[in-house]
């Protein structure tokens, strides 16, 4: 599953297509935010974290486990961010700060938010906004 791209499912359909028809400005801004966010942080690390988030959100197993302390710290944080952001701990953020300065930690978290929320909407939108359905009741 291409969770990191934040745009297309395995069968090639764009899960945000109907949403984009209905709210083109909003979806364009969401996609733009994802592109900019990826460019402002370690994209490979972000992708690994998004893969782990996706396994939590959609089920299945992430493609690979973290390989070192840096990856472990960020994946653990990302999973907590996706599951219950209110219970992220000081220690989890301190673990990120062992490997990035504060500004880059902020950028990473903002990028994670943009793409993790995109993924959430990608999972829900095809069901609540099916492409065959038009207009209001």
């Amino acid at each position: 599953m291409e969770a990191s791209s934040g745009s297309f499912s395995e069968d090639g359909d764009d899960p945000l297509a109907r949403l984009a028809e209905l709210h083109p400005g909003g979806v364009a801004a969401l996609r733009r935010a994802g592109i900019v966010a990826r460019g402002c942080t370690d994209a490979a690390l972000l992708d690994l974290c998004l893969d782990h988030c996706d396994a939590l959100l959609a089920g299945g197993d992430p493609p690979r486990a973290p390989r070192d302390e840096r990856e472990r710290a960020f994946v653990e944080f990302a999973e907590q961010f996706a599951t219950s952001v209110a219970t992220v701990s000081d220690a989890q953020i301190d673990a990120l700060r062992e490997h990035m300065d504060d500004i880059d930690v902020y950028r990473f978290v903002e990028a994670l938010y943009a793409l993790e929320l995109t993924r959430r909407v990608e999972l829900v939108a095809p069901t609540v906004l099916p492409r065959a359905t038009r207009g209001a009741l």
């Binding site: 109907r18 944080f77 952001v85 978290v109 909407v121 999972l123 906004l129 359905t133």
Partner: protein, 178 residues
């Protein structure tokens, strides 16, 4: 550790940003693009402000953003939103908020809590109360109201006001807190 945008009370910020989160709202930073998303969502304006407000408050509850929970959308207040309604959002399944609000809140919960388990029943429930344009607006509102996850994770929430504070948006969709 300190920085603008840090809470004056409550947990200390977990990162030090010289100019706070607002320092990242500029071209080339995600903050600018996310601001454009928020503005686009606020300009949609197809929803009853009461629905917008219950969805916003539900996101604040799910993400435990006390600052967001303390705000009240001015449009919603003018349309009759009151504190008993705000309290009812927390237990909306057993509340008298009504079926439309219930459907909107279940969509908010589907996105924020259980995106992998959404089913056709929710689609039917939403379609009974909302147009597709309105459902799309709720989806993007949830994304917008979830940006607080960044601030909650890093403990960069704004200080809590003394009481409920009015939230409105200008013509460009930029927030105004008064």
């Amino acid at each position: 550790m300190s920085g603008e945008g840090a809470a004056a009370s409550g947990p200390a910020p977990r990162v030090a940003l010289a100019h706070g989160p607002r320092g990242f709202v500029r071209d080339g930073e995600p903050g600018a693009a996310l601001g454009a998303l928020a503005a686009a969502a606020m300009r949609a304006d197809r929803l009853d402000p009461l629905i917008t407000e219950v969805v916003r408050l539900r996101c604040a509850q799910v993400h435990d953003c006390r600052h967001c929970a303390s705000l009240r959308l001015q449009d919603a207040a003018e349309a009759g939103f009151d504190e008993p309604m705000a309290a009812a959002v927390l237990r909306y399944e057993d509340s008298d908020l009504g079926p439309a609000a219930g459907a909107a809140l279940r969509l908010a919960d589907a996105i924020t809590l259980t995106p992998g388990r959404v089913d056709d029943d929710l689609r039917g429930e939403l379609a009974a109360h909302f147009t597709d344009e309105q459902i799309a607006e709720i989806c993007l509102d949830v994304v917008k109201w979830s940006r607080q996850k960044v601030l909650v994770a890093l403990r960069l929430e704004e200080p809590l006001p003394d009481g409920p504070t009015a939230l409105s948006f200008d013509a460009d969709g930029a927030p105004l807190i008064t």
